[in-house]
């Protein structure tokens, strides 16, 4: 190592100051959340008399149990279905190389460039027409569809690199296409499927625009959508808003701290492949 001592310390100081910049906002809403409800404290003052009851109050008014159930339901409906159908499509495009595979791939990749707000209006009108507007299905169905470009692209990238010998050997033994898929290639594809599952769970939990436009009742929304509604109601009561925000963040933060390695890897691979 030929890094001078002064540079070493300058670099470390730089990193520590950036970490402070990242962490301070969380600390600020935490101390604010402990002030008496309805007051307007300073950004980083420890309260004379910490109001831990604010969290209980926020838990009640935000209807946390209902929100957790709703978000979990949406994740459980979206993620498995997305994984199954995108894995099947990625398998057919990347491994079976069906005629038209490259056209299909371009069609899906095109979707990666579509900005979300660009197609939200027709989705809204469509959902009113087929009468799923304002139900959880209104979030679930478009979300599955919106994940397809990325998910198919991702799974295809895995299957296209699988050696053909595996499939040929299975064919000789008389395996059908379904056997080949279900008994041989899906077990081999577990790592990319797991990463995809993590990614889509985080994205679903944090999905806001679809929830805002397509579902009016906060208890039928995703966590992020519910948080938006909570802000609308309690924008003036800053301590309570901060307490509610922290509560809603808590599940995500816990999951991140538990699975940080997998989540970081998944998100990075996701962007490099995308």
């Amino acid at each position: 190592m030929r890094v001078s001592r002064s540079e070493l310390w300058a670099g470390r100081a730089f990193l520590v100051s950036l970490m402070v910049f990242t962490i301070l906002p969380f600390i600020s809403i935490f101390t604010t959340a402990l002030h008496p409800s309805g007051t307007v404290p300073n950004g980083l003052d420890w309260p004379a008399n910490p109001q831990w009851g604010n969290f209980v109050e926020a838990f009640k008014v935000a209807q946390m149990p209902a929100l957790l159930v709703s978000s979990t339901f949406i994740v459980l409906a979206v993620v498995p279905v997305s994984i199954i159908i995108s894995t099947m499509a990625g398998f057919a495009i990347g491994l079976l190389r069906i005629p038209g595979a490259s056209v299909l791939l371009s069609l899906f990749v095109f979707g990666l460039t579509l900005p979300f707000p660009g197609i939200i209006i027709p989705i809204y009108i469509l959902e009113r027409a087929i009468r799923i507007y304002n139900t959880r299905l209104a979030i679930v169905l478009p979300l599955i569809a919106l994940y397809m470009p990325f998910a198919v692209f991702w799974m295809r990238a895995h299957f296209v690199n699988m050696p053909t010998e595996i499939s040929e050997a299975a064919r000789v033994d008389g395996a059908t296409t379904w056997d080949l898929f279900w008994h041989i290639h899906v077990p081999l594809a577990r790592p990319p499927i797991a990463s995809l599952g993590i990614l889509m769970s985080v994205w679903t939990w944090n999905q806001f625009l679809l929830a805002l436009v397509l579902v009016e009742d906060p208890t039928q929304r995703t966590m992020a959508g519910a948080l938006g509604a909570f802000q609308g109601h309690y924008a003036t009561d800053i301590p309570l808003l901060c307490a509610g925000t922290l509560l809603i963040l808590l599940p995500t933060l816990i999951i991140f701290i538990l699975f940080q390695r997998q989540i970081i890897t998944a998100l990075l691979q996701g962007s490099v492949k995308g």
Partner: protein
């Protein structure tokens, strides 16, 4: 003769069997794609085409549609508030993409050079934290930090800059940069970690020999890091630029486009036009322009990073 006949029919029947099998396999293959394709078509491709279709009409979403040709597009160009959203979108590209990628490069190279061990690992995790929380939460948190009694002003007062304190998100000149800072906070960790991963793939001997030659941080940064990370930089730019142009959550929660229209971006304006003003046609025209904009900006970045990959 009999033998020949026999073998001929065998060949024929095998051929029909093969072509039947091949055809069956093609059908089965397409059946595998069908569910994904169907979902994608109904909820993404058809809405995409409908957006284009609506953009040629005047429509409130309920009553009859009136064909107006390109008039909605002309309106977008003529009304300063609408065209202004496109200008703001480019400013957000600076704040949500160029600065995080640039700063991320610096941070990654600093971690790589002075903190390969424990400190670097902690820095990675900490900086990444804002990336996993909902953008709505980031907007709410910073909405409070940037408020008049919030942390930012408290710090400014403490270091003797009390004269410049203000309600940052309510200030016509400062609202957009303030929203930009939220974007930097969210995206810095993502860019840093992505670029750092790229740096670990670079042959360490390159850095080693540069250091033996006495290269400082800056030389190393310009001569090795930037040229060798061009592919990762391209990826990072592509992802962040698409997100910047499509930005909605952070802006909606922190300023809702205000004050005035100073932070209104296309995503926000589309939402307001469609769902509060009921101008579906005009909103769709803006949506189509946004989609074209993304493609125009992305193609050169992709070209560059693809060239490098080869």
């Amino acid at each position: 003769m009999v033998l020949d006949d026999h073998s001929a029919t065998a060949v024929v029947s095998r051929r029909t069997r093969i072509s039947k099998r091949v055809r069956r396999e093609i059908v089965v293959g397409w059946l595998f794609v069908l569910p994904a394709l169907l979902m994608y078509a109904v909820f993404v491709l058809i809405p995409f085409l409908l957006s284009i279709h609506y953009s040629f009409f005047r429509w409130d979403g309920v009553g009859p549609m009136t064909w107006v040709g390109l008039k909605n597009y002309v309106t977008v160009f003529q009304v300063p508030d609408l065209l202004g959203t496109i200008v703001n979108a480019f400013w957000l590209v600076v704040w949500f993409s160029l600065i995080p990628v640039g700063l991320g490069l610096v941070v990654a190279s600093v971690i790589h050079r002075v903190a390969p061990g424990r400190l670097g690992a902690i820095a990675r995790t900490v900086l990444f934290l804002p990336q996993v929380i909902p953008l709505v939460a980031a907007g709410i948190i910073w909405g409070w930090l940037l408020a008049l009694p919030g942390l930012i002003n408290q710090i400014l007062k403490a270091i003797g800059l009390g004269s410049i304190t203000r309600a940052w998100l309510g200030d016509f000149d400062w609202a957009l940069p303030s929203v930009g800072v939220i974007g930097i906070w969210v995206l810095l960790g993502f860019c840093t970690v992505l670029l750092l991963t790229g740096m670990t793939k670079v042959d360490p001997a390159l850095y080693e020999s540069a250091r033996i030659d006495g290269a400082g941080w800056f030389r190393e940064f310009v001569d090795i890091t930037i040229p060798l990370l061009r592919y990762e930089i391209g990826v990072c730019l592509t992802v962040t630029v698409i997100n910047a142009l499509a930005a909605f959550d952070i802006v909606y929660v922190s300023t809702a486009g205000g004050p005035g229209n100073s932070t209104a971006v296309p995503g926000i304006q589309i939402y307001i036009l469609a769902f509060t003003e009921r101008q579906i046609g005009l909103a769709s025209a803006l949506a189509v322009m946004l989609m074209i904009l993304v493609v125009i900006v992305i193609i050169p970045i992709q070209r560059l990073s693809q060239e490098i990959k080869q």
